[in-house]
Amino acid sequence: MVRKVAATELAPTTYGWHVQADGLQVRAGRRMAVDGLDLRLGLGVHGLLGPNGAGKTTLIRALATVLRPAGGTLTLLGEQLGARPDLRAFRRRLGYLPQDFGFYPRFTVREFVEYMAWLKEMPPRDVPGAVQRTIEQVGLADRADDRMKTLSGGMLRRAGIAQAIVNDPDLLLLDEPTVGLDPTQRLEFRTLLRELGEQSCVLVSTHLVEDVAAACTNVVLVDEGRMVYQGTPAEVAAAGGADDVGDNPIERGYTALLGRHRAVAR
């Protein structure tokens, strides 16, 4: 389905990086989960990898403006998040799928995505078309009028992706989007990711390294709240050798980079 492209979308962006973080510090509970992170993200699909507890989810939540940074600077879509930022303009261009995706069970898929579109202050004229388009993009067109509580785990995840992209966000944050998707659906999702990466900055946090290898233009590796490595999937794969642990080149590169970083940190 072809949609109308607004003039503002064709205008060049006035900022250099979609996401710019310097010495970012974010607290999660009592721990400083993100501790001095420097990050530059532009157009494209960025995969966020790292061990559990590395601060991936905290980072994504900070970028989604759920959490306020405890230190450092964070500039999102050209606007620096200062002391009392006006987040409304930024949030209209944001898409977010949390790891723990909460929804209203009695709403149908269509009603829920429409509701999220309303929450994102999309112009009312555009909402029905955008909702239909996104539901088809994630492959839920035949379940669009079923209640969310009747959906399986993978379909719920896809509904979550639909609500995240309904407003054509410039910054799309997906935390574990492929949980519950079967292999075919994962392939379709990778295609969708690649499409989205042409127009916006997408940050995907995932444990599934093959997804990262296939769909991402850029890999960000974090450990204990700090940046380990940022580069293309090919560079990550090249960093690994035959004697590193892993079933495929990316995994081997991942283990190698992590090991090297930890050795240095000690």
């Binding site: 939540r61 989604a64 403006t65 759920v66 987040l87 409304r88 303009a89 949030r91 209209r92 944001l94 977010y96 949390p98 723990d100 995706f101 909460g102 929804f103 209203y104 069970p105 009695r106 709403f107 009603e111 429409e114 509701y115 999220m116 309303w118 929450l119 994102k120 202050e121 909402v127 609500q163």
Partner: protein, 429 residues
Amino acid sequence: MSVLRTELRRSTGPAAGVLTAALGLAGLYTLVMSDQSELWDAQWTLLASFQRIMLVVLWPLALGAGAWQARRDRRTNMAELAATTPRPVWRRALPTSAALAIWLVLAYLVTFAAGAVRVAGSTDYPNAGWVPIVAVGALSLVAAGWLGMGIGRLLPSAHTPPILVIAGFLALLVPVQLSKSAEPSGAALLPPNLSTTLDEFTTIASRVDLARAVVLAGLAVGGLLLVMVARRKAAVIAIVPVVLGLAVAVPLVNAAPAGGVQADPGAVAEVCTTDGGPEVCVTTAHAKGLASLTGPARKALTLLAKLPNAPTSVREVTGERPQPAGEAWLHSDNYQPGRGWLDSGDALVVRILAGAGTRPCDPIDYRTRALAAAWLFGQYPAPGQRLRPGEEAAGRDAAWQTLRALPEPQQRQRIAEIRTAGLTCHGDS
């Protein structure tokens, strides 16, 4: 707009509305089943006020429904996702609040409509006095829903709904219990549920209902503010409309009559015959009975002419004021809305002649009144006066014999004395 439609279908509103309507209908029709339906089907205002009595159950449950609705974001984990969206909290709260209010009001009106079907068949007195009564009742449910939502948002525990419902029951119960000892007055009149019942000739004092409406509006706005504030610290602002409402309402209600009821002037006003014969009047609430009363009333007047200072008109009254000597009075209890006078023909004449055309005194002396009627009618026992054999029947027979044993002028004087006594006693006020 489509969000409102979605919330109307998917929020707590439908369940709350259906429950409210079901309980209301059950309350109305339980009385029908136990044959006490005249408590509400005799008149429009009676139906409206009975519905207000039922608020003692509906109001606390509406509080609980609001508190349950307020927990939705927490229960479903939606709070985080919603926090990343630009739409402000207050704007987000509006469709949900509106949906709950709409469903509660609809349920209240549907219950009224269901009862109205019966009232339309039995009442003689169409009037619009029910409109403010129903309006205040509907407003009270909206206030309960929004207040519940506000408190539920302020105290998001899973235990808030049950505690709030019990608190609601207590808040309404205490004035009802107090009213059992004396008539409620002052601030005890403020709860929206009625604790005193009305009858066909009384209605809620308009000041009292206005005061209630003001308090309820304050509660509704306060609850809505609690739902709409973005930060918890700003929740203090919700106190302002509540306090304002109370400040306006308490003086109003302190100046109101005790019990919060007043006579319904429209129902008590008289409707009289205009055909030139001796005047026969009934209350407007019983206007349909005028035609069937006229004949027997005029026959009663000719029979009463035997007495000195005989009355020249018959009036149906509720018995509040002193009876003038020139009138014969028939108490309003002799008429049943929808069914007419309790007797007809000669038996109705005898009813008018009871106590020689006076309304009952307090305490009611049935025997003397029956004797006077029988003497004036000229027949003992008069039509409609049959008693089962027993102590009372034997006593009456004996009194009748005593009366008939007197010389004729003295009998007449005796009956005249009965009439004078009936004119000057205090009636049932």
